[in-house]
Structures are given as structure tokens and as C-alpha cells.
Amino acid sequence: MHDDATHGQGNSVLLPRPTAWPMALALGLSLIFAGMVTNVAVAALGLAMTLAACVGWFRQVLPHEAHVPVAVIAEEVEIASARTLIQRPQRSASAAPRKVLPVETFLIGNGIRGGIAGGLAMTVPAGIFSVLKYHSFWYAINLLAAGGFVDWASASNAFLCQFHLQGLLAALVIHGLTSLLVGLLYGAMLPMFPRYPIVTAGFMAPLLMTGIMFSALNILSPILNQRIDWPWFILSQIAFGLVCGYVVNLHAKVRTPQFQALSFAERAGLHSNLVELDGSQADPSQTGVQRGTQPGTKNGDKEDGAL
């Protein structure tokens, strides 16, 4: 509680009165404990001290808390900084909050949507592969699920071609979770790479993912590693990447040349090199960086110029 009653008479402040009773109570309790490893007499002394301290402490707070006025020493504390800020050339009313970086951002929801769409798209090549090669739609699903079931490690092809409810559920969880997470990542990261969205989203990321899987799959799921067909795997990854990237990009407004001219750190929202978008184009909801010099200037150390 913040009571203004802490102001004492005149130019003084009321502070709690110093007291030794808390220390005495602590000592008393410690002596009781010490008595348990030394001698009962020590504990008895401690008990007496504890009781006395309890009374003493009690009197400090009841019926009124003990206070002592402390005189305030008049003094002047200067709060100033020798450092300056960069002057803004013009300050428009739409000066947007600097905290919203980068200049444009995707909605998180788009990432989720993209993840769902991509996850669905991915099942198409996987399903085709499964049907073509093993004449069963369930094969691919069970193979994925086998990562979650250790005792499926030595399962036969026939077993994998049958329908298993737990296999379906496990595959749904593994596939759904991964798709959502990767979709989110697409939603967050695609705007950082605005230039070649199809290459980035559709090919680079899936290939990277495939590389990681290739090296880790033996430990992650040996059964999958034995039976996986890498070309089909890459195909399904690319299907995911293209669809997810497409859905995410549907809502993007990152095609503007101003945005593409920004440095990576700025697109990521890590850092601002003080580039300002054209005031008229810069919608307050989208504009983050507004301190700077000229519209569309590309990074560089414009701080100096701005001085």
C-alpha cells in the first residue's frame, strides 16, 4: 500500500524505526536449533530469547507501527545525458511507433493457415506414392507413425499396409504438429526473404529440411529410414513448401520496392538503419522505421547523414 502518511512533519520522511528484535528472534531460533546439536541449555537460552523477541517485535508493530522521521536533505540531482538523438527531418502526425518493426509484417494466422494447407497438400504425393508402390493408402501413414512406436520397428510391409487406428492418430499428431510449426515459421520468415518467394518457400526450405532429415533419420526412426523413398519424400516436401508459401504470400504486402530495398536485419525487425519509407505510402499500421532521411534509401550508415 502506498500511503502518503510516510511524510513526516515538515521536510522529513517517516521510515520504520530501527530495531534489534528481528535479529534477536533470529538468534533465538538459531540457538534453539544449535541446542539440538550441542546442549539443551543452549536451546533453553534460545527459547527465552525467542519469547522475549516475539514480545519486543510485537510491540514494534502493535498497536501502531513504530516510525522515525528522517530529515530530507535538500539536494539537486541532475538527470541529463550528453548523448543526443538523431534529429528527425520532419515529424508527421502519423509518426508511427518505432517499436513496430519491421516495416511490414505477416499475420501469424496466415502462417497457421499456410501450415494447414501445406500439410494437406503434402499428403497428396505421399498418398500417391503409397498407393502406387504398395497398393495401400495406409502404408505412408503407418510408416510415419512408426517413428512414435518403438515396437513397430521390425514390422512387415503387410502390417504397414493395414489400417491401424493408433497409427492414424500418431501420424496425424506428428504430421499436424510439424505442419503447423513449419507453417508458423513460414509466416514469420518469408517476409524476411521477399525476393524469390517461390524458390525460397518452394525449394530452398524443403531441400534444407530434407537434408536435415536425411542426416538424422537413422536415429529418429530407423524403420522410416530403411523404407523411405527420397525422391518422393522431396516431392512431398516441395508440395508442402509451394502450397504453404503460396497461402502465406497471398496476404503479403511485401512486394513494394521500398521493402525489398531494406537490409535483411531491417526486414527481420532486428535493427533499423534509419531508412524511411515515403510518408504517403507509409500507412501507420505498417510503418515502423520512420526516422531517417530519404524515401527508399538503401541502408548504409545514414545515421551520419541524418545529423
Partner: protein, 198 residues
């Protein structure tokens, strides 16, 4: 650019923060709950693991009457606070006295229970795991009742000699929070020891 250390008061909005007594007591209750949780876990863990008796089923009786006394004391202490808040000091004393009385009945009940357990059934803390966990859990709770009773009695004394007034409501309320906690713990202990454990 030079300014004083004082940052100018510009906001006139009301600045109300929770009472530190209540927050402090809430923290204490959380900490105490953690202690009780550990003892309850130990009780449940060792339940039925004894090689030799006596077992809870053989020796424990439901302490229904004393439990009702303890639980109803929650109501009386609440009434005491309410009375003090309205400035009715006599009513406050009365309800406080009732609380102390009910709490004492509970403690008396526990003492009687322990006496029979020790001397009739031969169950001590050293007998077996049940004895170990039972006495420590119920004993821990009884210690808390004892501390609460001591403070309530003190409040009663202050109330009787007239040094307690409506402006001390906050403090009595903090005390009542503790007492409610002790009662709530008993509900858990009762369930675990006397209902589940038998």
C-alpha cells in the same frame, strides 16, 4: 535539460495497489501449501506399504465432531472480522471467543485421538510407516492450529481490553485468512487420512 531527481507528478489517475498484508499472507499460504503437499504426498506414497500393523483401518476413527467444530470456526472468524469492520467490538469479541473455543475443541480432539492411538493401539511415530506419516502430517496441521489459536487468543485479548477498533480490520482479516487456510488444509488432511486412507 537539467531536472531534479523528482520525476514530476503528471498523472492524476488513482493509484491503488493491493494491501501488503493480504499479499504477504497469500504468499505464506502458498509456501505452507507446498509444505503440506509434500507431507500429503509422503502419506499417500507410504499408504499400504507397511509390513506390520497397526493399519489405518484398524485404528483410525472418523473425527467428525471435531472436524465440524474446526470448519465452523471458519465461519465464526469471518463473522468476527465482519463485526469489527462494522465497528461492533463486542460482537467481534464474542465471535473471536467462539473461534478460539471451537479451535480448542478440535485440538482437544486430536490430543485425545493421539492418546488412544499411543496407549490403546500402541501406534507411535516409530512403529511403522503409517505411524511416521500419520503423526507428522496430523501433527504438522495441529501445530498450525496451535499457532493460529495463539494469535486468535491474542486478538481476543486485545478485543476484550478495547484496543482493537475498526481500523484494525485489515490486520484481523489477514489473521482470518490464515485461519481459513488452516481449515482448508484440514479438509485435505481429513480426506486423505480418514477417508481415502481407510
Amino acid at each position: 535539460m537539467s531536472q531534479t531527481a523528482v520525476i514530476p507528478q503528471t498523472a492524476n489517475e488513482a493509484w491503488i495497489l493491493p494491501s501488503r498484508g493480504v499479499v504477504g499472507m497469500a504468499c505464506l499460504i502458498v509456501a505452507e501449501s507446498a509444505i503440506f503437499t509434500i507431507f500429503v504426498v509422503a502419506y499417500l506414497y507410504y499408504l499400504g506399504r507397511d509390513q506390520r500393523g497397526p493399519t489405518p483401518r484398524q485404528v483410525l476413527d472418523l473425527p467428525l465432531f471435531t472436524s465440524i467444530c474446526l470448519l465452523s470456526s471458519s465461519l465464526t472468524v469471518h463473522l468476527a472480522v465482519a463485526a469489527l469492520h462494522r465497528g461492533r467490538r463486542h460482537a467481534c469479541s464474542l465471535w473471536l471467543a467462539a473461534t478460539v473455543l471451537l479451535g480448542s475443541i478440535f485440538l482437544g480432539g486430536t490430543a485425545h485421538e493421539w492418546y488412544t492411538l499411543i496407549y490403546r493401539d500402541g501406534l507411535t511415530i516409530q512403529t511403522n510407516l503409517f505411524g511416521t506419516t500419520f503423526y507428522s502430517l496430523v501433527g504438522l496441521h495441529a501445530t498450525h492450529v496451535l499457532v493460529g489459536l495463539a494469535m486468535l487468543s491474542l486478538a481476543l485479548v486485545f478485543s476484550l481490553n478495547g484496543s482493537m477498533s475498526a481500523k484494525h480490520t485489515g490486520r484481523l482479516e489477514v489473521l482470518s485468512l490464515y485461519w481459513h487456510f488452516v481449515d482448508a488444509v484440514w479438509v485435505v488432511v481429513f480426506t486423505v487420512v480418514y477417508v481415502l486412507g481407510r
